[in-house]
Symmetry: D2
Subunit: 307 residues, 4 copies
């Protein structure tokens, strides 16, 4: 039972549970990054993997860790294609709402609001000054609703309030994720048609941001920005048990680790020291991808007007 | 006709139009600051002053310009009393929504979002973990809806969406203002029961954030953070005309000034060079005042829990 | 006597004093921007223009005001060429010190520190891990010494302390400037071999950052970020006097303006409202230009390693 | 041999080596915090503890983790007393240089520069406008020299350059530390008369910031802001070995852990998620303490003038 290891990535849930039925998986490798597509097809698989049924596309680019500029651009383009594909045949005049989840003031949690700031918004231009653009473009708007601890309002209440007024045809939500492997921080991007559940703090009444709840397709994009300290210690123990003859004691070790961790490391996160720069870079990669995916051939015209 | 001089302050509209009927006015001076109360009582006065009918309380503390710490605290307390008085007999269990208007990324326009960040929010604590506080406290929540140019959504649409979900009994809105006198930047605070109209940019279809539109009392708090460059040049010309025998030419001068200005200075603002520090200070003064006014005797307990 | 109008730009001093001898001037126009070269060749001209003898190159790109991305890149490249030309035949193994003057916490004064942060520094790589680069590159280092009011130390004392230790062959100093025309804010870049004098505040004992004082060539790069409010009002009066028959009264007007201004507008600056974004953009343009000029064909290799 | 566990705290070195001779230790507990004084008195003890000979005062306030405002103030005052005591009988007209070490752009490393910004600097006031204060005050200046990777210049070269010009009688250096226990992040403050050695990156030629090197007393103040991920995993293993019968295997486990860690976790740090807020709070606590310690009865006058 590896379920006590927390991960937001379907790919990692799958790694921990490789033999479960009801899951299809397919991976393409290109130079610089790999794209894997995991489809959770049955309720039972969803329950076991602790992830809703649906499609999870993961871009994995380990070389992003050293922050090479050309790879940023390449990954942006690849991500743009995946977003466009997942969005399907959206009408030209569709309205798209981008929702940047998380807390701008907490760096490892700031990915969503940072992306939201960089989206080329056009809904008001179409409405109030359409002549500013050579032709009508897709209506895009972008909000960062904040987090419960800062606003006192459920994130979903705010999002629901906004969607009732602007009636989007598609929602794209961005959030920082937790993975179980430190190496995936800032090098992996997950895209899913199952939406997203913001935070996991006070109370449990909050509902997800997903197509069932909102009645329109919801694409969620996330990047691991932290590993919970508890998880990383467990990873160390697993690796040790693998390499020693202590396998009989692994469970004992794990129980002890769990106890030690809950006593002393509970709320800590593991994060690279330069998380500020990473959050900036990755928000740029994702915002570029969304802008490219939504505006396609209008991209340059919109960019000129907005950026 | 002084109407071409733009000001958000009722006190300044009044100065420019001292002889209009339907306005009552009263001023108290204390050491350190003055409080003036202007009541616009007739439609005609409202039309002439270009301000809605209602009460405008202005705290004027010129000494704030040199940023003395004790005066900050004193002004906060005085403002707290005015807010409490204007809010009237709000039930203990009332829900209050604080709305920080403006653009966080543009310093002279960042007052509202900065205040919103500093509000002690309690609505979620009352709802999800009431045991964290020794007794129930007022439910306060706080949002910064962003601006049209960044979100693509009318500010009022977002605020309306939020209020429909949380049904506040009182709304307090904060916004940066423009005055016609540079000396009032950061030294004057206006409080009004007439609400606020955010921005004045694209289109004119946006509606105000006021009690008529939202069905609950709306208190607006504002501080001048800029003078439009056009206004400041006009002020110079006025002063010159006052001091010369050129009075006959004043109108001619003014017309010329208007022309020169619209050609070359249009969108510029005049602001103190240390506007970053000023925005930080004044957001603290106002947030403290709101927190004090809303939590009263619970202030210290809430502060301990939240800050 | 136009000397009461303050400007850091030699080009503007020249405009105000077009008939002075001892100045040569030459302008090239290309699409998007103009380059003018002013050489102040005599002591008398220097005294009258209130600028030291030497070469002043000004890039003027009014279209930068609307922030078009391709023009940023073009101006960066043009500026890189001017820097390289002014630096002359620097040995390959020369050490270059970039000094970002100004106060990071005051947006209109933050250009220098922002540029300093973006410089690709290599001095320590050459010294401690030369193997990280395929071949030796120029040794570049970069400091932001802060301002007197924040450090309590004369900027020049700090710069002198640093230069005594690293013994640079060339110093490049960056500072925010004041111009007399609002339209030049963020659209004009001045490059000069006469160095720079930081600030003009407390005391007058501070010495300049120039080749006489430091014994090596000093290139100063500046961009107007503000117009003093006093200047802008004078500009309005000048324009008015030009257009009216009030010319006889111009001096009278100007005296009055000076009085009015010193009473009420003294320390204020005029600045575009989006100065935060402008400071970010222009620091990028200038840092890119310096990086290009210093690393030339090594630019891409260094960028990969550093950025 | 616990030496592979990295810590900047003498108190933790001592905990790991409780039986070493040549160390005296004394602890006082008050409500809210404890103060321990460790004196390393012999070369041998210094070598074994991997800390220079001298006095280490540690304030330990576990309750700071929940950020209670009154405790901040109390700890500031206690720290001020310790600083004043360690500084000894400094002449009234002495010059004090505060040096904020670290990288402002990396949150867990930003403590030093944040403190430097908050110091009340007076050296230039004494020099250029002594009449601004009712009586002469101590001359304080404050610099944040940046880090090698950003400036290309050894931190110590910059500090040396500055000190040669301003000739301080006392240096106070502030830096973020690493501890071996997550619980000490932001709750422990170490004060030592042995100075500080910034960073531990490229090369090993850099010398310390200490009284031997600079010829004047150097007080170093540090707060743990991170635990290296490697350390935290080792801590988990130690605790496990303690609680199991696996003690015979502890060394084997530790070797494996070291291997696993160097492969996968090397450069990561463990940090609380709200490190941004913590860095802000603790920089305020330390700067207040330094300001109090240096200005004593002049504190309020200086604060009025400077803050």
């Amino acid at each position: 039972m590896a379920n006590s290891i927390y991960t937001d990535l379907a790919m990692e849930s799958r790694e921990l549970n490789p033999d479960i039925k009801g899951v299809t998986e397919q991976t393409e490798e290109t130079e610089g990054y790999a794209v894997s597509r995991i489809k959770i097809e049955t309720d039972e698989a969803a329950r076991k993997l602790e992830k809703p049924m649906g499609l999870y596309v993961t871009l994995d680019a380990p070389a992003l860790a050293s922050r090479p500029l050309p790879l940023f651009e390449e990954v942006s383009k690849a991500l743009a294609e995946e977003i466009a594909h997942m969005a399907g045949s959206l009408p030209d005049r569709a309205t798209v709402l981008v929702v940047g989840l998380g807390n701008r003031a907490i760096t490892p949690d700031s990915l969503g609001p940072r992306v939201a700031e960089r989206i080329y918004v056009t809904r008001h231009i179409n409405e109030y000054m359409p002549e500013a653009l050579p032709r009508p473009v897709r209506s895009v708007c972008s909000v960062a609703p904040g987090v419960l601890g800062v606003t006192g309002v459920e994130t979903m209440e705010i999002v629901r309030g906004v969607t009732e007024h602007i009636k989007p045809d598609l929602i794209i939500a961005i959030d920082a994720l937790a993975s179980r492997r430190a190496a995936r921080i800032s090098t992996t991007i997950q895209l899913t048609d199952t939406g997203i559940s913001p935070g996991s703090g006070v109370g449990n009444t909050r509902k997800g941001l997903n197509s069932q709840a909102f009645g329109v397709p919801v694409i969620a994009i996330g990047v691991p920005m932290v590993v919970h300290a508890a998880t990383i210690s467990q990873e160390v123990i697993s690796l040790i048990a693998d390499k020693t003859g202590l396998h009989g004691d692994e469970e004992k070790l794990r129980d002890l680790a769990a106890q030690v961790i809950s006593e002393s490391l509970g709320p800590l996160v593991v994060t690279p020291k330069d998380i500020d720069a990473i959050a900036e870079d990755m928000s740029r990669v994702i915002a570029d991808a969304i802008n490219l995916a939504l505006f396609k051939t209008d991209y340059e015209d919109v960019r000129m007007l907005i950026a």
